[in-house]
């Protein structure tokens, strides 16, 4: 019993260590004071008002959402296609190809940022939202590939054969059998892609221009220039927009996983 008690205490401590820094920011965002303060001495929605009305912050939010949505569409489409392709390769080739596709996870972001920056100079994609979205797609792609591949590997290959033996052509098999069964993987891949893009800061910093500041870049800039408590409201919005989709993905994954396993 004692061991259990210790285990509980350690678990709670670790949990707090992981979440408190994030959670502290939320009460701070409702503070009425003009500086960072914890615990807040009074309550106010002024920072939220500023976040959504000041041109700099609201543009940053809009930019971030645009980039994240484009990234989600690109990365999900390409990543799903890549996972389907990988699934058909012989194990040896698949290993190598998977390594290439997952490399953005391992390669330091700063390195990727430098290379993309110099490449985009020639393509004049620097300082454009689509440029940032393309760069984010490279970072988000591995997560989609991993999520969809996991799903495909759990799928009985005979299902596709059964489909074609029953008269379904390759496209029909994909649309009616492979895609519906891979959908939970595709959805969680899409959510991961969205989140990856939404809180990405290094590439967005490199590729920024005054009109293409994303929310994380705006936050970064705002701390370096001045102490603006609006950042705590921005952080809270960020936490919400990142954690809700992920929790949602886990719920979807758990439920679909049960139904699709048979």
């Amino acid at each position: 019993m004692k061991a259990r008690l210790w285990l509980k205490i350690v678990a709670v401590l670790v949990g707090l260590f992981l979440t408190v820094p994030t959670l502290v920011v939320i009460p701070m965002s409702f503070s009425s004071s003009q500086t960072f303060q914890f615990p807040p001495s009074g309550w106010s929605l002024q920072w939220y008002e500023n976040l959504f009305t000041s041109p700099a912050w609201s543009t940053a939010i809009r930019n971030s959402l645009q980039v994240a949505l484009v990234t989600t569409v690109l990365a999900t489409t390409l990543g799903t296609a890549a996972a389907l392709g990988l699934n058909r390769l012989t194990p040896r080739v698949r290993g190598v190809a998977t390594g290439f596709l997952l490399s953005p996870i391992i390669i330091p972001n700063i390195l990727i940022a430098l290379v993309i920056f110099s490449a985009f100079l020639r393509l004049s994609l620097n300082g454009t939202l689509i440029g940032i979205a393309i760069a984010h797609t490279a970072l988000a792609l591995p997560f989609v590939v991993i999520a969809v591949t996991a799903r495909l590997q759990g799928m009985d290959a005979a299902l596709q054969r059964a489909g074609s033996s029953l008269g379904a052509g390759p496209f029909s098999v994909f649309r009616k059998i492979t895609l519906p069964l891979a959908l939970p993987g595709v959805l969680s891949g899409a959510i991961l892609a969205f989140v990856t893009s939404f809180d990405e800061v290094v590439l967005a910093l490199f590729l920024q221009s005054p009109s293409t500041l994303t929310l994380p870049v705006q936050m970064f800039n705002s701390v370096t220039v001045q102490i603006d408590p609006t950042i705590s409201a921005a952080s809270s919005v960020m936490v919400l927009l990142v954690s809700v989709p992920i929790l949602l993905a886990q719920v979807i994954g758990a439920r679909r996983g049960k139904a699709g396993r048979q």
């Binding site: 009985d156 054969r161 059964a162 033996s165 379904a168 519906p180 139904a259």
Partner: protein, 368 residues
């Protein structure tokens, strides 16, 4: 899409992966419309590869696959119009039973009311009426395989391919599904091509069995023919049990094994290199050599085990020289014999059969 008359001809069918050996080696089988043909063999013998080539999942290396006279080898699987049943059922988990069975009809753009009618009719055929709304994972293994059967025949294909459909089921269920498959075959009058490694299954279901060994059809015939006259040692060993003696055929109709001389009928022109096979139920045991009938062939044996099995008595025999076998006897026929005792085993010459021993490793072209 016409389905022809269900006649399948495999003509010099070969399969080779890369530059490896032939895994299917000049297979020639002519399957009659409505026939139940079983491809039987150990794993790696090429039977499944052959089925996959018929289904279109595996490209052929050379040869031809004809359905009702026309070559289907260039057609993709979804154009061949063969029903197929898989080992692990391969039901679509995201569809209900009815949707699974309706799938091939939807792909063929059958009008909706007719789909509903035929799905219901086919589910009734496999004894699953009223189960249409269930999901596959809510059904037992046997029920799932029946859904798979329904799905594979609902669009009236002329041929049904079955890839070890019973091997994932337990023994009892397997027997009831065997009967189910047999009944479906009789009712639907389709050509069935059935792959299995289970000899009992093959014997009880098939009109004819093609025994595969190392990529070739070693022998093809009705179960009774193959059992009575297996032709090769491999078939004798694979189909049923046997007492197998590797001796030599001498001129004048005498078979010689370990000092024994046995009479052989119709031995003219038969090569000397032959094994002699006696099936267990043809063997009789005598406690004393004097009890052996005069015109019977006999051999001394030691009884290593004696098992009463209700309908029959089974005796495990050791003939010495590393040769063992068994006899299946009527339960009350044995007196004065116990495990460990020496006996004389005997049989009538017409109940023995000569088979070809395995050939030496030889080039593939020989049998082409």
């Amino acid at each position: 899409m016409t389905t022809g008359d269900g006649r399948i001809e495999l003509v010099d069918l070969c399969k080779r992966y890369g530059s490896g050996p032939l895994v299917v080696d000049h297979v020639n089988i002519d399957i009659a419309p409505g026939e139940f043909l079983t491809l039987l063999g150990p794993s790696g013998s090429g039977k499944t590869t052959t089925l996959n080539m018929i289904a279109g999942f595996t490209d052929i290396t050379s040869g031809a696959i004809r359905l009702g006279g026309s070559d289907v080898a260039p057609l993709p699987p979804h154009r061949r119009d063969f029903g197929m049943v898989f080992q692990n059922y391969a039901l679509f988990p995201h569809m209900t039973v009815a949707q699974n069975v309706a799938f091939p009809l939807r792909e063929r753009k059958v009008p909706k009311p007719e789909i509903a009618r035929r799905v219901e009719e086919t589910l009734r055929l496999v004894d699953l009426a009223g189960m249409g709304g269930r999901r596959p994972h809510e059904l037992s293994g046997g029920q799932q395989q029946r859904v798979a059967l329904a799905r594979a025949v609902v669009f009236s294909p002329s041929v049904l391919l079955l890839d070890e459909p019973l091997s994932a089921l337990d023994r009892k269920l397997r027997q009831s599904l065997q009967q189910e498959i047999k009944r479906l075959h009789q009712e639907l009058k389709l050509t069935f091509v059935f792959v299995t490694h289970d000899q009992d299954e093959a014997m009880s279901l098939s009109d004819r069995i093609a025994v595969f060994n190392a990529g070739r059809v070693e022998r093809i015939g009705t179960p009774a023919e193959l059992y009575r006259d297996p032709g090769t040692r491999f078939v004798a060993g694979f189909l049923g049990e046997s007492n197998l003696f590797t001796g030599r055929l001498r001129p004048g109709g005498v078979y010689e094994w370990a000092g024994h001389k046995w009479a052989v009928r119709d031995a003219d022109g038969v090569p000397a290199e032959r094994d002699l096979v006696v099936r267990p139920e043809r063997l009789r045991l005598a406690a004393a050599p004097a009890d052996v009938p005069e015109d019977a062939n006999s051999v001394q044996a030691k009884v290593t085990g004696l098992y009463f099995q209700g309908t029959h008595l089974r005796a495990e025999l050791d003939y010495g020289d590393g040769t063992t076998g068994c006899a299946v006897l009527p339960p009350d026929s044995v007196t004065g014999i116990a495990a460990g005792s020496g006996v004389t085993a005997y049989w009538r010459p017409e109940h023995q059969v000569l088979v070809t021993p395995p050939a030496d490793p030889h080039p593939n072209e020989e049998n082409a």
